[in-house]
Symmetry: C2
């Protein structure tokens, strides 16, 4: 495999001419080959027009036909393992084992959506039959199902070069929904992106689909992305990244003549609540588990814990000492890009410079390496200072000590929207846990007990998303089969003859779907 460094515009390649850039090896501090060429405006236009042309053809496929397409993508990704192992660790500083795991996850996402489509009931078919005899007015025959919204712009994330990037969950759920994808590669892993894009393109060709079903655009800056979000053919946006980036895309999308939804997953501080009995019973085991979670992937997970809230008392000192020891002893790890490492160092320095915050552990971060840091502050400080609850992307956490359980609950009730919240509890903590649960349920997408938030299972029940600013729209998940809901809308057919209806809505239920008939779920 040789990398061309050119965008994929449907079945063709972009041309040189735009601004160029290269990948970067954060572990070795060197630029990588080849040079990548940013998409030119006419290429952005061409990709969007092709996507618009492809949209009705992809929407016209049956769920089962689209499932075959998704299976092809999964296979094409897995077949490219050697290529990913050759370039992705270099581009990201992530170890090969992580890349292998992430590739399995990326392929698995496409397969999980394929199974959802094969079963078919995801279209939420609803049937209310005509009531010609009803008085005072008869009722028409009404049948609805979910249909794709149209072309989706997907922004690859830096922190999961496979599972949340070009061939990640946003692309998988958009294609599953029947929406063409125009992906914008993250400039931190362009060779990985090109290879993933080629895998999807090969599946498009193998299935004989319209070339506009998928395009991939390169750009080191923000212009290509902004043009994409503004393009009239684009109907929705998927993004994983910083709050600033997400908010900028939301503003662009809201200002369009025809506004479109942006699904921005912007990370959070994923608070951990250490309840008194659990803290007293197993301070060291919890410290070990949380240290591992904070250190995982150099802290570059959306779900990395950034705030730990405990109550003063038995076990607290032991917990703090052990956590500080573990984090302080960890070697500085390569971060995904020099810019991310730089922002991490700045965030850590800001916390270290505070007089109301004590540094418990702080290794030496240099160049593209990030060393873990732990700070401690009283809960009253955390309640008063929003700076202590802002995400520092990387292995950095603030440990907060509350005077009593009531203050711990108060910290919970003041949280911004979060992807996750975790409660460490023992049987004796049940009353306090019950009190915390509704508060946390109102502020987060996922509540965990006695686990760590890093590690986001891909399954129907997963919710990866939370109230703003964790996500732009907390009503949707970005991971799991529920993610397909972001890219569909219901359409109702009234008195349409059976032969003209989509098969999902025909009287005989030829696909054997679960359908809501007169308000009741049935499979007949």
């Amino acid at each position: 495999m040789s990398w061309m460094g050119l965008s994929l515009i449907g079945a063709e390649r972009g041309e040189p001419g735009g601004p160029t850039f290269t990948g970067w090896n954060p572990a070795e501090g060197v630029a990588l080959e080849p040079r990548f060429h940013g998409a030119r405006p006419q290429e952005v236009e061409r990709a969007c027009v092709l996507a618009e042309q492809a949209a009705p053809t992809l929407a016209a496929l049956s769920s089962r036909q689209r499932a075959v397409f998704l299976e092809h993508i999964a296979e094409a990704l897995l077949a490219a393992e050697a290529d990913f192992l050759a370039v992705t660790p270099k581009e990201t500083g992530l170890p090969p084992a992580r890349i292998q795991g992430e590739l399995g996850r990326a392929a698995g996402q496409f397969r999980q959506f394929a199974r959802l489509l094969e079963e078919g009931s995801w279209v939420d078919a609803r049937i209310d039959r005509a009531l010609p005899e009803r008085r005072p007015l008869p009722r028409a025959d009404l049948r609805s199902l979910l249909r794709p919204v149209g072309p989706v712009a997907v922004f690859g994330a830096s922190n999961f070069p496979l599972a949340f990037s070009v061939a990640g969950g946003d692309t998988a759920s958009a294609l599953a929904a029947g929406c063409p994808v125009v992906a914008k590669a993250h400039p931190a892993h362009p060779a990985t992106s090109e290879r993933a894009g080629l895998a999807i393109r090969a599946a498009v060709a193998a299935c004989g689909l319209h070339e506009g079903v998928f395009s991939l655009l390169f750009d080191a800056g923000t212009e290509v992305g902004a043009s994409l979000v503004r393009h009239p053919a684009i109907r929705a946006v998927g993004f994983t990244g910083s709050r600033g980036g997400g908010r900028a895309l939301m503003a662009l999308a809201a200002a369009r003549p025809v506004p479109i939804p942006v699904f921005a997953e912007m990370g959070s501080i994923n608070p951990i609540f250490l309840l008194p009995e659990a803290l007293a019973a197993r301070p060291q085991a919890m410290a070990d588990a949380l240290a591992a979670s904070i250190l995982q992937g150099a802290g570059q997970f959306c779900t990395s814990p950034g705030l730990l809230v405990a109550v003063e008392g038995l076990g607290y000192e032991a917990f703090r000492a052990r956590l500080a020891e573990k984090l302080g002893a960890a070697a500085a790890a390569p971060m995904l890009s020099p810019a991310i490492a730089e922002r991490f160092r700045e965030g850590v320095s800001r916390l270290a410079a505070r007089t109301d915050t004590r540094t418990c552990a702080r290794g030496e971060s240099k160049a593209a390496l990030g060393a873990a840091a732990l700070f401690e502050a009283e809960a009253r400080v955390v309640l008063a200072e929003s700076a202590l609850t802002e995400e520092v992307f990387g292995s950095c956490a603030v440990l907060t000590v509350a005077r009593d359980a009531a203050e711990l609950v108060r910290v919970a009730s003041r949280l911004e929207g979060q992807l996750t919240a975790t409660v460490m509890m023992d049987a004796g903590d049940t009353a306090l846990a019950s009190e915390l649960l509704p508060t946390l349920s109102d502020r987060v997408g996922r509540v965990l007990m006695n686990g760590v938030p890093t590690g986001v299972e891909v399954c129907p029940a997963m919710v990866h998303g939370g109230p703003f600013p964790a996500s732009s729209d907390g009503r949707f998940t970005a991971v799991g089969t529920g993610a397909i809901r972001r890219f569909v809308r219901p359409v109702c057919f009234q008195d349409v003859p059976d032969a003209l209806l989509p098969p999902e809505l025909r009287e005989a239920n030829p696909l054997g779907l679960w359908r809501t008939v007169e308000g009741v779920l049935r499979r007949e």
Copy 2:
């Protein structure tokens, strides 16, 4: 019943002090008693704070407890029929029979949501059990369900003083979801609004709920509404009205420190496609049906037809003549408010003044009376001039004649987002109808055949909403049980002990819900 003209702030009344206004009898052109007092800023604040306090208490109720509350509202509304009949026709110019029908619809909406809640499966419970033996990593126990988003601001619509106003579908679906409501009364029917608000408040009291579950604010201007949308306690907005109004609320909501969704239903021109065989076979019957639809409620329906597209040929002249005759012969009808009548007259005058458009029928509109109007233009003009496809709220339609079927399809493909599109067809039109269907499905929320779009059934399969600008977010319906989806978001519980889980997610399925277990719908 005597009307006080003061806002309902939880269990209390607002006080005089804000700007005042009165209702207006459009049929007689006189101001109505009493004087209504706009909510003062501290009352807006109080209503929002109460709603925030009420939110966790309403969310903590079971679906079945909320169903009882909704039934109480339905009963309280029906019990107020005499009061509505005393004031609503005067405030709106709508006939008593329409008010009775609308009251039944309003009460019926609460009852339909009550039945949805009683059954309970609407929470979309999903369960993926732990897989402790899985390799390389075990899977945690993951369970998710839908939960209310928090307080919702509801803007009453002018055109359905009961079914889309204070006690309308937005309020019903928000309360059903478990979200407190702060309603802003439409100033065109304040006495109706006060009475409806009192009915809801009585149900809140009868069920022993937190007073903040419902408040009602008066205002003749836009300040109270803008303050509501900006208030941090408000988590979503429901609105039915003009595109300008909806877009203004969307901009306010997007600019908040924490953006919130706005569900604005902004109307559309609801195109009717008259296919050749049907036109040739029954021009007069179709003209009669469409004239009745255009005239219904003085054209003040979101789904009123404003564009008719036919192909030149047999039946066209007869259809046009009959439609012009029917619309021209209709008496001018009182419109909902002087402002609406004024905008209608302006819209009709603008069309009449065009040199590329022919006036087929135009009665005399004066004061608050609107007389139906019909214009005719060639399809090439409609394709070139967006002014001909802009909604004129009232009984006003543009009849477009295409040279051939291809031109008719081209008109369809250029449409903005619409609530509905209707196809009039006979068996011989099937091929053309099949060609039209995907195009229409991409642009509208509801596709009808051989019917009229006015009349929006309240049922599970209904979709009342469509791509922008028909709605702010075409992924949701404003009518039917699906409307509850606007005001909920999923929350996932990971490894939470069974006793601490919401009953909907407990292993034993104590509520007997349909749940997605390991991806499969089950009721055990």
